[in-house]
């Protein structure tokens, strides 16, 4: 009994060290910019780099826009499918899974063919247009996670009856959507949003091929040209991801104590 427990702990520690040791090594290396002593110089250098600030804020901006438009697309879709087209649910679910099956590089080449500056919809003709296209591509990438988490949250409420109750009280479609449905799937929306955030911050392929100044390509650029900054950046990226995960945990715990169906 006792030895079994110890054995289990050793296994866990061994597994964890597999992830933690490289991380510690990276962190340790990132502190060694100043010769002979540990310092946060690499981090200072990263944070003082104007390109870092620009690309990072660009990606955050993109992430926020992606989340807003993604939520506006996914919540009404999931709602409508549940309410009026329940027989279509497997089809919609399959469609939302496509971005997991098709590599991002294939999607982006498709975009470039369809929306290049000499096409009928020349998204890539201007920087704003390309930004929009990039945002749509981020939406596509986050679709599987966003749809799933919203749809799961929707399962816990009786969408049909709540809609009818609201209608009989005089509510219009926008009122039903934003007063009765949205607040009740907020936990799903939030967890979808955090995953989206993490995806957008880390994504390299799309912004790189669309040539937009996002964080992913910047990470790659620094990694190829500097010694101490890349590990510092990696640690920062990790911290952000972990922050998202922690928020996710918080949200899911919060949603458990939140109102649910009787």
């Amino acid at each position: 009994m006792k030895t079994q427990k110890i054995g289990a702990w050793i296994a866990v520690l061994f597994g964890a060290s597999y992830f933690i040791v490289p991380l510690i090594a990276t962190f340790e290396f990132s502190l060694r910019m100043r010769r002979g002593e540990y310092s946060f110089d690499a981090y200072r250098s990263v944070f003082s780099d104007i390109q870092f600030r620009e690309s990072f804020s660009y990606s955050i901006m993109m992430a926020i826009l992606t989340i807003i438009f993604g939520v506006l697309l996914v919540v009404p879709t999931a709602y409508w499918v549940r309410l009026r087209l329940p027989q279509m649910r497997p089809v919609v679910e399959f469609i939302t899974l496509m971005p997991l099956v098709i590599p991002a590089i294939v999607i982006v080449f498709g975009y470039l063919r369809l929306y290049n500056s000499s096409s009928y919809i020349p998204f890539t003709g201007s920087a704003r247009g390309t930004d929009m296209l990039l945002m749509f591509s981020f939406m596509t990438l986050s679709l599987p996670y966003m749809y799933r988490s919203v749809d799961t949250a929707m399962r816990t409420i009786d969408v049909g009856t709540l809609t009818e109750a609201a209608q009989s009280l005089g509510a219009s479609w926008p009122t039903i959507m934003f007063k009765c449905i949205f607040p009740n799937v907020m936990s799903g929306v939030l967890s979808g949003a955090f995953i989206t955030f993490a995806i957008v911050i880390g994504e390299f392929t799309m912004p790189s091929l669309l040539n937009r100044p996002a964080f992913g390509p910047y990470l790659q650029l620094i990694g190829a040209n500097r010694a101490y900054e890349p590990p510092a950046l990696a640690i920062i990226a990790f911290a952000i991801t972990w922050g998202c995960m922690a928020l996710l945990q918080l949200v899911s715990r919060f949603s458990k104590s939140a109102p649910s169906k009787p």
């Binding site: 409420i157 009280l169 009787p262």
Partner: protein
């Protein structure tokens, strides 16, 4: 002209006709129950009144206004669902205020109205609770308050008590009836529980596969069932096959015992025909000195002591007749195998003519 008029309503889902030529008028302030077995179309009719379904044919008129072209949110109809359907993200206060906010009332007026409605259902002290913090009975009362708050033209309740336990069911149905009378609101109440329908309705519509078999007061429905279906669905009932001996004198036989009916058999019936007769279990008694101008003798098949009543089944010819007697401490229940005489009044025997 009546307040709520349903005329020639039909509804089909694909090839299946669920409601067939349904006609009914309801007066202002009336409490009408739709009673019928599962799947007979009660909910479908209610949903057509509310506007959630469109009739395949026919019209819904409320207060002289045709509702067919109106969307559910334009009809001003209060609806209470079996599953309560309170908004989980809102407090009791906000749930009740929901319809008032949409109607564009001022905040002070809303607060006053919500307070009034919560007072009506005796839940004023729970205004800040969320639905998940309340019992089913409390939630359903909030749902009622929410439906009534915007002063709807008609209140529709679809089996509002089915999800509750027996005790609450009885007290809440009486509460619903009291509030309905207090507000004088025209109400349609759907149920498959006959006791519920009998106890609180002004009139009952007994439905059978998409049609109204009988519309009448609870008293009439129970005592003068128009069809075999109504007779068997509402209350328990003995259906007895009898042979006509002489139509002119209303003479029939059950087994080999002759009886004279009070109700005329009618001109289409000939001697030798079989007629169906109905007798309520509470109409007869085998107690000493029981009153009644008619008697049937038979052997007791079973006898169940149910507390306040004793239900006895007796074999007369081919028929088994069951009847209820009040329990009396000084009298022991009839024994199985005993031969007794059942007495009742001939006018309690109804002729069932489909």
């Amino acid at each position: 002209m009546s307040f709520l008029e349903l005329s020639g309503i039909q509804k089909s889902f694909g090839p299946v006709q669920v409601v067939k030529d349904f006609d009914m008028t309801i007066e202002k302030g009336e409490f009408v129950s739709f009673l019928g077995p599962s799947g007979c179309g009660k909910t479908t009719i209610l949903r057509m009144v509310a506007g959630f379904e469109t009739p395949s044919a026919g019209t819904v008129v409320i207060n002289g206004r045709n509702q067919n072209e109106l969307k559910p949110n334009q009809r001003n109809i209060g609806m209470v669902f079996q599953a309560y359907a309170l908004f989980p993200n809102m407090t009791v206060h906000d749930n009740v205020a929901f319809g008032l906010k949409i109607a564009g009332m001022e905040k002070s007026a809303i607060d006053a109205r919500v307070k009034e409605m919560l007072g009506l259902i005796h839940l004023g002290h729970l205004a800040d609770r969320f639905p998940y913090q309340m019992s089913g009975g409390q939630q359903q009362r909030v749902a009622l308050a929410r439906a009534l708050a915007p002063k709807p033209q008609v209140l529709l309740l679809d089996e509002p008590l089915s999800a509750l336990d027996a005790k609450i069911r009885v007290s809440l149905r009486e509460e619903i009836r009291m509030i309905q009378q207090q507000l004088g609101i025209t109400t349609v109440f759907v149920t498959h529980d006959q006791e519920e329908a009998l106890s609180i309705s002004d009139r009952i519509v007994v439905m059978n596969s998409g049609r109204a078999d009988q519309i009448g007061t609870p008293f009439d429905i129970y005592n003068k069932p128009a069809t075999r279906f109504v007779a068997s669905f509402v209350g328990t009932l003995n259906l007895i096959e009898a042979k006509v001996v002489d139509p002119a004198t209303n003479r029939i036989v059950i087994g080999d015992q002759g009886i004279t009916l009070r109700e005329p058999l009618g001109s289409t019936v000939k001697a030798g025909d079989t007629v169906s007769l109905a007798l309520r279990p509470e109409a007869g008694s085998i107690a000493e000195g029981a009153k009644g101008d008619t008697a049937l003798t038979g052997e007791v098949v079973s006898s169940n002591f149910l507390g306040s009543v004793i239900r006895t089944r007796m074999k007369v010819g081919d028929a088994v007749i069951s009847f209820d007697m009040f329990n009396a401490p000084g009298r022991s229940p009839p024994a199985v195998g005993e031969v007794s005489t059942l007495r009742f009044t001939a006018s309690d025997l109804l002729i069932i003519r489909e």
